[in-house]
């Protein structure tokens, strides 16, 4: 069972992610494929309002824009540790599309990348089997400040720290 880290703690995951929806029935707190949610929105949201959507890192935020104020959770799949597309997607969802709900990373999530993910707007991470959550929490704290602005701190260091001392 993968471990879920949310807001800097290990928590119980009470969402269920499904690869496909087969019979048109969706239980509350299910994360369904974004494409399914887009094409079946009226029927889906009449069953339950507690629906999350997931999409791959190369997904287009425009495609799910109509859903963003209706879903409490968006999950982005990382197909490979070194595939950074999900990071840009997260930045766009947070900054350009104003998504305020839970933004979750899953798939090939490497603990040492979680600090990057956090700064791109993710707030929960599904750690793959065999990865130690304590190591992950430590890795997230290994660098405490950064030069650039980010989703969680838009001001770069030169706008908030007295540089040159």
């Amino acid at each position: 069972m993968p471990t879920l880290i949310k807001d800097g703690r290990v928590v119980v995951d009470d969402w269920k992610l499904v690869e496909t929806v087969t019979d048109g029935r969706v239980e509350p707190r299910t994360i369904v494929p974004a494409a399914y949610a887009v094409s079946n929105a009226p029927q889906l949201f009449s069953q339950t309002s507690e629906v999350g959507v997931w999409l791959p890192g190369d997904g287009e935020p425009d495609d799910i824009a109509p859903l963003l104020d209706r879903v409490p959770l968006v999950a982005i799949r990382f197909g490979a540790v070194n595939d950074g597309r999900g990071l840009s997607l997260a930045v766009l969802l947070r900054t350009r599309f104003g998504f305020k709900g839970e933004l979750r990373a899953f798939g090939e999530v490497l603990e040492d990348v979680m600090n990057y993910m956090r700064r791109c707007g993710f707030d929960s991470y599904q750690l793959p089997d065999g990865h130690d959550p304590e190591v992950a929490l430590r890795a997230m704290r290994s660098l405490s400040d950064f030069y650039q602005g980010s989703v969680i701190e838009p001001r770069p260091a030169f706008r908030r720290v007295a540089r040159g001392r």
Binding site: Y147, F158, R163
Partner: protein, 551 residues
Amino acid sequence: MYRYDQFDQHFVDERVAQFRDQTQRYIDGGLSHADFLHLRLRNGLYIQRLAPMLRIAVPYGTLASRQLRMLAHIARHYDKGYGHLSTRTNMQFNWPDLAEVPDILADLATVQMHAIQTSGNCIRNVTADQFAGVAADEVVDGRPYCELIRQWSTAHPEFDWLPRKFKIAVNGAARDRAAVDIHDIGLEARRTSDGIVFDVKVGGGLGRTPILGSLIRESLPDIHLLTYLEAILRVYNRYGRRDNKHKARIKILVRAVSPDIFRDQVDAEWAHSKDGPTTLTREEIDRAIAAFTPPQYPALESQPASLASARLADPEFSRWVATNVAPHKQSGYAIVTLSTKVTGVPPGDVTDVQMDAVADWADRFGFGEIRISHEQNFVLPDVPQRDLYEVWKLARAHRLASSNRGKLTDIICCPGGDYCSLANAKSIPIAEAIQRRFDDVDYLNDLGEINLNISGCMNACGHHHVGHIGILGVDKKGEEWYQISLGGNAGRDASLAEIIGPSFSRADVPDVIEQILDVYVEHRADGERFLDCYRRVGIDPFKERVYANAH
């Protein structure tokens, strides 16, 4: 030069501790080989053919003497007593012990150095003109902007996991010594009545698909530099190919959609971030510029009589002055290139003793600053003209006084099959064979400016596509062969070399080069450089000569 503030120092110190933790987890088995690979690459550590290789960043090729002494210490203490200057103006060590790498990085941090993002699919060390700040033909010193880009690109949350490596260069002089046309992003700084602006070229690069960059924005005001770079990087990060590593550089994307469409995509992206918080402040730009304030140059006589008489008395010195000394913007001073290209020594290799010596000369004959050029040489930027003879004698005693800057034997060469696990063929023995064949200084001087670049594989670390003469190692049924190309150039009027024909065996390469040079000497007009002659007469006369026996 730029000095770390508390913020910078804190960052590199934390980064060292982070890598120490990652290395320990790998050694303990908590981090898999595949996962550790991504992390070590972003800290400069490759696992090469013989041993790990550690690539240390020398941002925009500028080093303080105490930093070079630290590199000498690392060479002596952790390695086999030498290091290698790379074409990205970095320093590479070929024999570190994996478990000791965190200690090396900790030592580096004490002199404000690091190995962050010197490899991996991320934004690499930003390079500049090796004569930045001192060149007589300079318009803008690009290094303050390189430093701002360095800070912005370090551990960028969004752009550390790109489709492929990403290289940025800044030039600000009449001549282009930074080779901006062959970079993922090449920035040309200019001075206007409204302040400093940049012309932005994107999508240049060598490798399997050599392409010169396309100009996508003119006159970008300096305060917008980072937001504009961010827009380019976001388009690339999202849409660059990831299915084939040979097609993953930004040049492939730019060519696929066309530079015009790419520019539109960048502009659409930029519209959202322009004038946002990442916009540089005048104060921050001024802080960076102030870090590169020229030293207080004591007034010195220009072209002192002692220099002229030393040149008259010593023709070897005179030859060196003609080739390896460049004009300085300050009267009475000169820029000295200390060539690492000595026959029998791999181009770019320098010993700990040489490093210590160069550091001492930088203190004695300058302001404690050294440069590394992408041609893999050391540069002393601020030598008083009256001391040139003394510097030359010292350099000669340390085998750093080859009078060959820009000449045939100033070969750019990758480590090749002797060290690199990617290489198809060795490159260092080719360089040595050519240096041995053409060792007559008068002949070399007569040939004039010729850039000969050698790469051991298609990755083109030796920049063979932009050599006036390029040599590429290829694998033919398990044997090492060499393809020769002509007419490349990395400077202001950049061009890509044209392949002359079928490849040659290693033993034949020096003969083929000699034939090529013969054709040049026969066809050249008075004072015509090799490159200009080639451009005028074309490839055919060269082709006919070197393949004459094959017909």
